[in-house]
C-alpha cells in the first residue's frame, strides 16, 4: 500500500518535471518579447532593454529555466503583469470558485448517474432505460454555453431565483454563495452526466451478468442486497476512474462556464493569461493544473484500490 503510493508519487514527480520543461520552453519559444508586451508599444527601446535585463530574459534559456524552476519549488511563480499580483496569490484566490462548482457539479452528476444508470441496467429496455439513454445523448450533444445562457435567461432573468452572474464567497453569505454556484454547477453536471451515466449503466450490465449474481439470487437475498451489495459493488471501478478524470478536468478550470457566469475562477484566469500573453501567469497555471490533476488521479487510484483489493496485490506482485 505505502510502497504503491510512494512509487506513484515518484512517477508523479517525473511527470511534473517533464511538464515543467515543456511548459517553459514552449511558452518561451512563442514569438514576442515579454518585456515588450508588459511595457506596451509606446515604450522606448531603452526601457525594454532595462526590463529585459531585470527580468533575466537576456540570459541563456537553460539558466532562465533553472531560475524559474527553483522559484517554483519555493512556490514563487513570479508576478502576473496583467494583474500586477503574484501568480500564487491569484491562483489561491481563484481555487475556491472553481473547486466549489466542480465538486457541486460532480456531486449532482454522480448522484443522478448512479441512480439512473443502476436502474436502467437492472430494468434494461424499460422506460427508465430509454429515458436515461436520452439523457446521455442530450448531455453529450448540447453545448454547455447554450444551456448556460438558457438558464441565465430563464432562472436568472425571468424567474429571478438565481443571480445572473458573479460569485459570492462562502464565508460572506452561505445561502447567496450556494445560489451563485447552483446554475453553473448544473450546467457543468449536464455536460459530464452523459458519459458517467453510460459508464455506470454498462458496468452495471456487465456486473449483472457475472456468476456471483447467480449466487446472490439463489441465496434469495433482498433486492437491495442483490443489486447494491453484489452488483453495484462489482461495477464501481470504471465509474470511479471516470469520476476522477472528470473531476480533475473540471478542477483544472471550467473556462466556458466561468466566462458565461462571470465567475472569477481558474478558467477565467487561464483565459485572461492566454488573451494577454501573460506568459508568467500561464506557466504558473499550467504547472498548478497539472499538479492538481496528478494529485486527484492519485487519490482516485488509492480509492479504487480499497474498492478492488486485487489491484493492491498486483502492485505488490502477490499474484
Amino acid at each position: 500500500m505505502l510502497t504503491y503510493v510512494l512509487s506513484r508519487i515518484k512517477s508523479s514527480i517525473v511527470v511534473l518535471f517533464v511538464v515543467s520543461v515543456i511548459t517553459f520552453f514552449v511558452l518561451m519559444i512563442i514569438p514576442g518579447n515579454p518585456a515588450q508586451l508588459i511595457l506596451g508599444t509606446d515604450a522606448t527601446a531603452e526601457m525594454v532593454a532595462d526590463l529585459t535585463e531585470s527580468m533575466g530574459l537576456n540570459k541563456p534559456l537553460y539558466q532562465q529555466y533553472l531560475g524559474w524552476l527553483l522559484d517554483l519549488l519555493k512556490l514563487d511563480m513570479g508576478t502576473s503583469y496583467v494583474y500586477g499580483e503574484e501568480v500564487t496569490r491569484l491562483i489561491i484566490r481563484s481555487i475556491p470558485v472553481t473547486i466549489s462548482i466542480s465538486i457541486f457539479a460532480m456531486a449532482i452528476a454522480v448522484f443522478i448517474a448512479f441512480i439512473f444508470g443502476t436502474i436502467a441496467a437492472i430494468k434494461k429496455n424499460s422506460i427508465i432505460d430509454y429515458f436515461s439513454r436520452s439523457i446521455m445523448q442530450l448531455g453529450v450533444a448540447i453545448p454547455s454555453f447554450w444551456i448556460g445562457m438558457v438558464f441565465i435567461v430563464y432562472f436568472g432573468m425571468k424567474l429571478r431565483i438565481f443571480p445572473v452572474s458573479g460569485y459570492v464567497p462562502i464565508n460572506e453569505n452561505f445561502l447567496n454563495s450556494l445560489k451563485s454556484i447552483i446554475l453553473p454547477s448544473v450546467v457543468l453536471a449536464i455536460g459530464e452526466l452523459g458519459t458517467l451515466l453510460r459508464i455506470v449503466r454498462s458496468s452495471m450490465l456487465d456486473s449483472l451478468k457475472q456468476d456471483y449474481m447467480d449466487m446472490a439470487k439463489v441465496k434469495g437475498l433482498s433486492a437491495g442486497k442483490i443489486y447494491i451489495k453484489y452488483a453495484l459493488r462489482g461495477a464501481l471501478t470504471a465509474p470511479l476512474t471516470i469520476i476522477g478524470m472528470q473531476f480533475a478536468k473540471l478542477a483544472g478550470g471550467t473556462v466556458v462556464v466561468e466566462t458565461i457566469f462571470a465567475l472569477p475562477g481558474l478558467g477565467r484566469l487561464v483565459l485572461t493569461a492566454v488573451e494577454h500573453r501573460d506568459i508568467i501567469l500561464l506557466q504558473g497555471l499550467v504547472m498548478f493544473i497539472t499538479a492538481s490533476v496528478i494529485f486527484i488521479t492519485l487519490i482516485v487510484d488509492i480509492l479504487i484500490m480499497f474498492i478492488n483489493p486485487r489491484i493492491k496485490s498486483f502492485q505488490q506482485g502477490e499474484l
Partner: protein, 313 residues
C-alpha cells in the same frame, strides 16, 4: 412426502427453440441423484429451472415442480425466492466468480443465513466457522478474512459448499462440482458430499458428465440426452440392466483399467442434436445402432418399479 424433488414434464425453450422437453425426475429424500449426459444435453438448465435461475431469454413450462415440499409453479415470485434461498443450496461448477471477488468471505458467506433465519452477523460467522471446519479447513478464521481470489480452486469450492450448507438446506444442487478441480481435490470434494449426505441426510442433485463418478457416488441416476431424460432408475438397476441403447453405449465408453493394448476406445458417432428437440420421435434415432423406422415417428415410454426409459425396443 418421500420426495425432495418432483419434476413432471418439464419443457425449456429459448424463443421457439426447444432445449429441454418431456423431462421428469424424482429425487427421494436423502438420496444422491446423478444427472449424467454429454455437453449440451440440458443437464445444467434443467437444474437451473428447478432453482428458478434460467438465463435471460429462456422460459420453462412444467406440469409439476415440487421442491422440498413446496409447489414452485403456484408460488408467487417472493415465495419462490424465499423458499429456494432457504431450502436449496447451490454449488456451481466454476469456482472462480461465484464468490464475489471484491467481498471478503466473511461478508458474503452468511448473508443468506442472516436474511432467511433472522440471525445476527455474529451468529452467522459462528456457524460459518463450524461449517468451514466441517468442509476441512484447519483455521476457519483466516479463511473468513480472505478474499476469494486469495484461495485456491479447491478451497473456494469448499467455501461454496460451506455456504450452501449455511441454512441446513433440504436439497443441494451441485453442478459439476469437481470439474474444475484436480483429481485429488476432486476426490476430497466428492467424499465430502458423501459425508454430508450421510450425516445430515440432505438430498442431492449431482450433475456430471463423468459416468464413473456418478456410478461411484449416486443412489439413483438419470441419463440425459438432447434435453430429455431417456432413462432413469436406481444405480444397480441402471448399471446391471440398461435398457436404452444410449445408456448401453455410454457404459461401454467408460474406459476401464482392463483395456487391452491397442484396443480402440469405443465412441458414439455423431453429435447431440441442437435442433428438432421438439420431435415426437426418439431424439437418438440418428445415432442409434438399433434404430427402426418407427423410431423417428413415435417413442414409447416404459416404467417398471422405478426404472424408466423411453425407447421402442
Amino acid at each position: 412426502m418421500n420426495e425432495t424433488v418432483l419434476v413432471k414434464n418439464l419443457h425449456i425453450k429459448a424463443g421457439k427453440n426447444t432445449l429441454v422437453s418431456k423431462t421428469s425426475l424424482t429425487i427421494k429424500k436423502g438420496e444422491i441423484f446423478g444427472l449424467v449426459g454429454e455437453s449440451g444435453s440440458g443437464k445444467t438448465i434443467t437444474a437451473k429451472a428447478i432453482i428458478d435461475l434460467l438465463p435471460e431469454g429462456l422460459t420453462y413450462t412444467a406440469d409439476e415442480i415440487i421442491t422440498a415440499g413446496k409447489n414452485i409453479l403456484t408460488a408467487s415470485r417472493e415465495e419462490k425466492k424465499e423458499h429456494i434461498g432457504k431450502n436449496i443450496g447451490y454449488i456451481p461448477q466454476n469456482t472462480v466468480f461465484y464468490l464475489h471477488p471484491m467481498i471478503k468471505i466473511k461478508n458474503q458467506i452468511g448473508d443468506g443465513y442472516m436474511y432467511h433465519m433472522k440471525k445476527t452477523k455474529k451468529e452467522a460467522l459462528k456457524r460459518a466457522e463450524s461449517l468451514l471446519i466441517k468442509v476441512g479447513f484447519k483455521s476457519p478464521k483466516t479463511v473468513l478474512n480472505y478474499y476469494p481470489w486469495q484461495l485456491s480452486g479447491g478451497m473456494r469450492q469448499r467455501c461454496n459448499i460451506a455456504m450452501a450448507l449455511m441454512n441446513d438446506p433440504k436439497l443441494i444442487i451441485a453442478d459439476e462440482p469437481s470439474t474444475a478441480l484436480d483429481t485429488t481435490v476432486q476426490k476430497q470434494v466428492m467424499e465430502l458430499f458423501k459425508t454430508i449426505n450421510k450425516s445430515l441426510g440432505i438430498s442431492m442433485l449431482l450433475i456430471s458428465h463423468d459416468l464413473g463418478l456418478i456410478k461411484h457416488y449416486c443412489h439413483s441416476i438419470g441419463v440425459m440426452y438432447a434435453g430429455q431424460i431417456i432413462e432413469s432408475g436406481s444405480r444397480e438397476e441402471l448399471f446391471n440392466n440398461p435398457k436404452h441403447p444410449y445408456t448401453q453405449l455410454l457404459m461401454k465408453i467408460v474406459p476401464s483399467l482392463s483395456i487391452k493394448k491397442n484396443e480402440p476406445l469405443t465412441e458414439i458417432p455423431g453429435y447431440v442434436p441442437e435442433k428438432g428437440r421438439d420431435s415426437r420421435g426418439c431424439l437418438f434415432v440418428k445415432r442409434c445402432p438399433k434404430a427402426m423406422e418407427v423410431c423417428s415417428q413415435t417413442v414409447e415410454e416404459h416404467e417398471e418399479k422405478g426404472h424408466y426409459y423411453r425407447c421402442n425396443l
